[in-house]
């Protein structure tokens, strides 16, 4: 994105009086003082130093929202036309900062405490204990290892999605029908999918797939063998998300310049040659974008695992998210769970940054 100077130039001759400027500043600082005052008061009330106080922190939240609103209003009051421009981005920025940055800082604090919601003591800082516990927690490392497998499965999904996109891009009838049908799995909630496929179609006694396998002379068992269980989770996740990559790749295929492909045909390229030498290289930027986004979604994989196997057998299907979910659900271990999540976040940020560095040279469309 080029950002040298405004795309949309506005010229305004504005005189903002000093009193107007003072009013704006007063508004911001006044509401900020109100917010901080309330927060400190409430903190002291919770600590038991001040008797009077609110039951919850809700009023502090209202004061914060008042401050955020007046910050937006003050932009226009103080800066005039320039403030009106800021007003486009400021609400979203404030929203994200208050919902991400504060909780993350808070999470950093929790992750170094032994907070267990079941214990009445409340959070006690315990230094590096959680870290040591994590280092020795085989199940966490196992979950991380599983994430590697899950991410690698994206490559297979990509091949299938590319194949489907090519099919949809071919000269076919009823293209719209097929496109809608192929899109459907993406619409379904992972929870419904885990029941529809994981718990009913793959049910060992009555599920249709088990029946077919028994007809063929096999013995169906989907979630007792670690490798097969992991494969089944991958397959279900792939089933829901292949349409996502397919649509992106299809859009890429449809935007390809026709002349180049026709030129390759005139030059006598066979179908495979024109795919390998022309279509695939031209599709590289789209492919890389689709794969990167898919990997990012894959790193959040949890719903299906929680609902179908709860990580079993023996943690073979656990993703990091589902593992932490159970750490909280079964043991109410907020402190330790948060540390695991923070470590995971750090790993993800490193991984995605490296990934983007690595692939950025392919993401640029060749001129």
């Amino acid at each position: 994105m080029t950002s040298e100077g405004d795309l949309l130039h506005t010229v305004t001759a504005e005189n903002i009086s000093d009193s107007r400027r003072r009013l704006g500043k007063l508004l911001v600082w006044g509401t900020a003082a109100l917010f901080l005052g309330l927060a400190i008061w409430q903190a002291m009330h919770e600590a038991g130093r001040v008797a009077a106080g609110f039951e919850t922190w809700r009023p502090v939240l209202y004061a914060y929202m008042l401050w955020a609103t007046s910050l937006c209003v003050a932009q226009v009051i103080v800066n005039g036309e320039k403030g009106k421009r800021t007003l486009f981005v400021l609400p979203a920025a404030l929203f994200v900062i208050s919902l991400v940055v504060f909780p993350l800082l808070f999470a950093l604090y929790i992750s170094f405490t032994d907070w267990n919601l079941a214990s009445p003591a409340g959070p006690q800082p315990n230094g590096w204990d959680n870290m040591v516990q994590m280092w020795n927690d085989g199940f966490y490392w196992n979950a991380l290892k599983n994430m590697v497998y899950y991410v690698l499965a994206v490559s297979v999904e990509y091949v299938i999605a590319f194949g489907l996109a090519l099919l949809l891009n071919a000269q076919i009838r009823a293209r719209k029908f097929f496109r809608v049908v192929f899109l459907l799995p993406l619409m379904l909630s992972p929870v419904a999918v885990s029941w529809m496929i994981g718990k009913s179609m793959l049910e060992v006694r009555f599920g249709p797939i088990s029946r077919v396998i028994r007809e063929l002379g096999g013995e169906p068992s989907f979630f007792s063998n670690p490798e097969i269980a992991r494969f089944m989770i991958m397959a279900m996740d792939a089933w829901t998300f292949i349409p996502f990559m397919m649509i992106m790749l299809l859009a890429g295929l449809q935007a390809l310049p026709r002349e180049v492909i026709e030129a390759s045909k005139v030059d006598g390229a066979t179908g495979w040659q024109s795919f390998k030498e022309v279509i695939f290289p031209l599709m590289l930027p789209v492919s890389v974008t689709a794969i990167v986004i898919r990997i990012i979604f894959k790193l959040k994989l949890a719903d299906i695992i929680i609902n179908v196997t709860s990580g079993g057998p023996g943690g073979a299907t656990d993703s990091v998210t589902s593992f932490i979910f159970r750490e909280y659900r079964d043991r109410s271990n907020v402190g330790y769970g948060t540390l695991l999540a923070m470590i995971y976040l750090v790993l993800i940020v490193i991984f995605v940054t490296l990934l983007l560095k690595l692939v950025s040279r392919w993401m640029e469309r060749p001129a």
Binding site: G5, L8, A92, S189, V191, E203, N307, F325
Partner: protein, 305 residues
């Protein structure tokens, strides 16, 4: 054939056979994948009309090897017999359905409003917040996409507890908005970049302010993109399970949580589970069939620059 005057050359006839072979292969592959996509949905919807023996015998085709019954739908209080009567299970189901609908619609609306404004600002003006310039701000918004929900879940659990927002719709709406905001900004930035600046310049010359130009000139043009972003957000919010499972208990529970909680207790109640799953996926299937154009448009926005 033999006394035709103009005959295809042998090579052409071979090409013809090859063409037919490729046709068969293409349609064969398409049909196989159609079955893969549709069978689970077909299985769920037919199972919701089955009785226990039908499930055990593996009957699949209605009216041919089993008689459809309303048993499954009766367990969530929706059937021709029960529709006029008061039913607590239906109340329960509708409450969850309603929660899902309100949360998904409000969160998507909020995300589209905030996201469109930010995307427009970033595509038209130069900002400097401290060291952050336009590209940094864009990256800041988009980088939220890699934030895994699990990192936010536990701090929010504690924060919401002290704010009395636990088990409330507003709490969920805020989180869902946060979750879909990067996607909305991504789609909308692409939209606004495709709109020529000259339009707004003309509007400014004619005396509109920048907000006037945005609301009256740019928004109507960008509307299809906004609809695409809205529908994509709607689908994501409707299906969200993780936050809803952690942050709601009784009042604000959404449909996915209800579906998931059924599987845990009382073994598997095939017909009622199937009915519940069908009811949870039907709205989205309808959305997919009628608004497919917008969903595809939204997802394709980032792919092709």
């Amino acid at each position: 054939m033999s006394n035709a005057i103009f005959k295809d050359h042998d090579a052409d006839r071979r090409a013809n056979a090859k063409w037919w072979a490729s046709r068969v292969a293409i349609y064969g592959a398409l049909l196989v994948w159609t079955v893969i996509c549709l069978f689970p949905i077909y299985w769920t919807i037919t199972t919701s009309f089955k009785l226990a023996p039908d499930v055990m015998k593996g009957n699949i085709v209605p009216w041919w090897d089993f008689t459809p019954r309303w048993k499954g739908w009766e367990s969530i209080g929706i059937s021709p017999r029960l529709i006029g009567e008061v039913s607590t299970v239906r109340e329960e189901f509708l409450k969850r359905f309603w929660n899902s609908a309100i949360v998904a619609i409000s969160a998507s609306t909020l995300a589209v409003v905030l996201g469109s404004l930010a995307a427009y600002g970033l595509s038209r003006f130069t900002y400097r917040f401290g060291f952050m310039r336009n590209s940094d701000i864009s990256f800041f918004f988009l980088s939220q996409m890699i934030l895994p929900p699990v990192v936010l879940a536990l701090p929010f659990l504690v924060l919401y507890k002290s704010l009395a927002l636990l088990d409330s719709r507003i709490g969920l709406i805020l989180l869902y908005t946060l979750m879909v905001l990067p996607i909305v900004i991504w789609i909308m930035r692409d939209q606004f970049q495709g709109i020529p600046v000259e339009l707004e310049e003309a509007a400014l010359v004619d005396g509109l302010g920048i907000w006037g130009a945005f609301l009256q000139i740019v928004l109507p043009i960008a509307l299809p993109g906004m609809v695409a972003a809205f529908i994509l957000s709607l689908v994501l919010c409707w299906n969200e399970y993780f936050f809803a499972a952690l942050l709601t208990a009784t009042n604000a529970t959404t449909l996915p949580v209800m579906v998931a909680s059924q599987t845990g207790s009382q073994g598997i109640n095939w017909w009622s589970m199937a009915a519940l799953s069908s009811a949870a996926i039907l709205p989205l299937i309808i959305v997919a069939i009628f608004l497919e154009k917008y969903i595809v448009k939204g997802m394709a926005a980032g792919a092709v620059k």
